[in-house]
Symmetry: D3
Amino acid sequence: MSDELTHINKNGEANMVDVGDKPIQKRTAKATGFIKLQENTLSLINNNMMKKGDVLSVARIAGIQAAKQTHFLIPLCHALQLSKVDVDFEIKEDGIRVDSLSRCEGQTGVEMEALTAVNVALLTIYDMCKAVDKDMEMSNIRLLEKTKV
Amino acid sequence: MSDELTHINKNGEANMVDVGDKPIQKRTAKATGFIKLQENTLSLINNNMMKKGDVLSVARIAGIQAAKQTHFLIPLCHALQLSKVDVDFEIKEDGIRVDSLSRCEGQTGVEMEALTAVNVALLTIYDMCKAVDKDMEMSNIRLLEKTKV
Amino acid sequence: MSDELTHINKNGEANMVDVGDKPIQKRTAKATGFIKLQENTLSLINNNMMKKGDVLSVARIAGIQAAKQTHFLIPLCHALQLSKVDVDFEIKEDGIRVDSLSRCEGQTGVEMEALTAVNVALLTIYDMCKAVDKDMEMSNIRLLEKTKV
Amino acid sequence: MSDELTHINKNGEANMVDVGDKPIQKRTAKATGFIKLQENTLSLINNNMMKKGDVLSVARIAGIQAAKQTHFLIPLCHALQLSKVDVDFEIKEDGIRVDSLSRCEGQTGVEMEALTAVNVALLTIYDMCKAVDKDMEMSNIRLLEKTKV
Amino acid sequence: MSDELTHINKNGEANMVDVGDKPIQKRTAKATGFIKLQENTLSLINNNMMKKGDVLSVARIAGIQAAKQTHFLIPLCHALQLSKVDVDFEIKEDGIRVDSLSRCEGQTGVEMEALTAVNVALLTIYDMCKAVDKDMEMSNIRLLEKTKV
Amino acid sequence: MSDELTHINKNGEANMVDVGDKPIQKRTAKATGFIKLQENTLSLINNNMMKKGDVLSVARIAGIQAAKQTHFLIPLCHALQLSKVDVDFEIKEDGIRVDSLSRCEGQTGVEMEALTAVNVALLTIYDMCKAVDKDMEMSNIRLLEKTKV
């Protein structure tokens, strides 16, 4: 593991790492996150799922769309051609867990895309529930796995 | 407080709330979040701050820029004309706390802008430290305060 | 009605109309469009609706998001602060009808936003059905109504 | 031909198809569409073309630019590196026909890019003529051809 | 005139100025710039103008579109609702002069929008001529006038 | 060298050059530009650099971000997957010189990305100094070097 901040050059200035000489590999990343919700909010989302599930549908689309914009949001990220982004939800007793998967064939990893998908999916749930729940909190956002072949 | 999901209409479909009849008010929101970092990572960021502070400078700019894009990232958010966005950092023993403030004069609140600024600032710190720290986690992301006058 | 192309100046050059002296009014526009689909495609979409309705949910979100980006897509459109965008679907015998509504308080009309929402919703249905239906066609895209108060 | 909606997974949820294992091929797509215009509108556009042709120039640029943004507009589309986009116009007796061509070397087809170029070119003509023509309608928007080598 | 960098706070950190208490005024800005071109390039552009003038048409559209994106390009700029953007060209002996005008009713000036329009129009001319002219240079980019009423 | 405007087709219409048959090569471009500043402005920037260097940090990030958006800003540019973008500053007696470097492996050159980075970095310095300096001017913006291997 590196012991230097690779995005900072020798003068302490921000720096976009040159990935031009890295091999092209199939890369995958999985990330997760959680949003704490009140019981009443969860039951409203659940009832809605019985109908059309729009809270989670909207959050899924927002997460996928955000993954494709990662390099515009995170200043030193490279543009990648994602071959797949997935966003999934698991309803827990006290909130909703979000899991994402992103894949590409490229010269640099896709963890920022997976994490961005999770973060924006969580923000979208927050947005859609903020009229009924004043006690939401996002947490446990982290990388689960990262592979290259 | 509402007991309905305002972004979902009577058919359970996603819905952009009509804010056209709400009064124009000065609105403020403050949000916060935290990223857990290893001691070594914090000391690298600190040393850099002694010089030019680019990790936190880049994260600050990313957060401010993201706040301005909130309505493109969160599907049912309205475009707002933000009069101010601020992103601040506090270095703690085990990570960095991010605080944001957003302000606008408009018909709907600015909490999603404040939260988006926090989330993208955290993601940017993550991106810039990921080569040296494999154990980062984002948490405690929540609204601190919301006012209108 | 004008008998000049207002987006073209006296030299025949493209021109962004100055709306700075027009009064601020509440403006609404409704637009519609249609996509022809095969019976089999419609039945797949319908079955999906029984579950989670994602084809139309995704198309709705795409339409709403696109409306907010109208001024970036259509070169001489002004940025507007939309107070509401709605996208609805009606399943017909030979396809799907899309209806949209957009509202703002501003100095210029919102018909391009309503039409952009319809167009991108139609394109999204197309995208999601293109593996099963090689005979889709979009038509009847037009403004239904435009009001200002 | 598939008999399943590939953008919907087994749970009926929206899904970005994984194109990571598809071969990289040279892909082309052609699309077309039509906008009905009044005789007077057509003659204004024609007169302008005698000078500088700006209505169609602006529509062409808008279509090309939109093709490059397809994956941000259509939620489940992949980013592609387009090697070419062309937008052409044919003035008919009762309106204007738009034709587009898009090309890329990649793992998935470019028909959505060609269709998006057509749709946004049509919307741009609509926008530039809406002060003089209240009876415009867009129709006949469809794929003409799709190849891969 | 201020003697402090208003975008930097007391700790030397980047800062989005709070414009929330400034009066809403009609604001105008004019900017200009120049691109040096070889005689042969100018004659090619001129010949094209005799036909359809596309080099300058494309540059005009690019400049107008860029003005609308100023707040996404310049990190500490506020979003403004531009009521008008104009981009004009004057062909000189040794190059092309670009002039822009931008207008809005708002709480902060529109000079960055006018300058961004000029810069991106110049870059677009550069792009369209770079196959025939290896000696282009952009210069004299400055604000001409700024008013508020 | 070509003696035709490659972005204009035989009918004088704008045209996105087909790069699909060009070989994939490692490409580099370097560009430069200058912004004239008053002595007082330079000393304020310098003092700030002693602290945290934010004027130039913000301009650097803005330039890097803009390079990634070149194909959205310049209508006939192709999307490229940049492997590196660098923006550097040199403080001169009467202003600041900006230098940029961009790299990619692709079918077309990266000079527009390098020039866009310079232009937007200059605009960002302008924005951050405009409250204290009414006499800024951007000039000498040109390509320094372009290679392919």
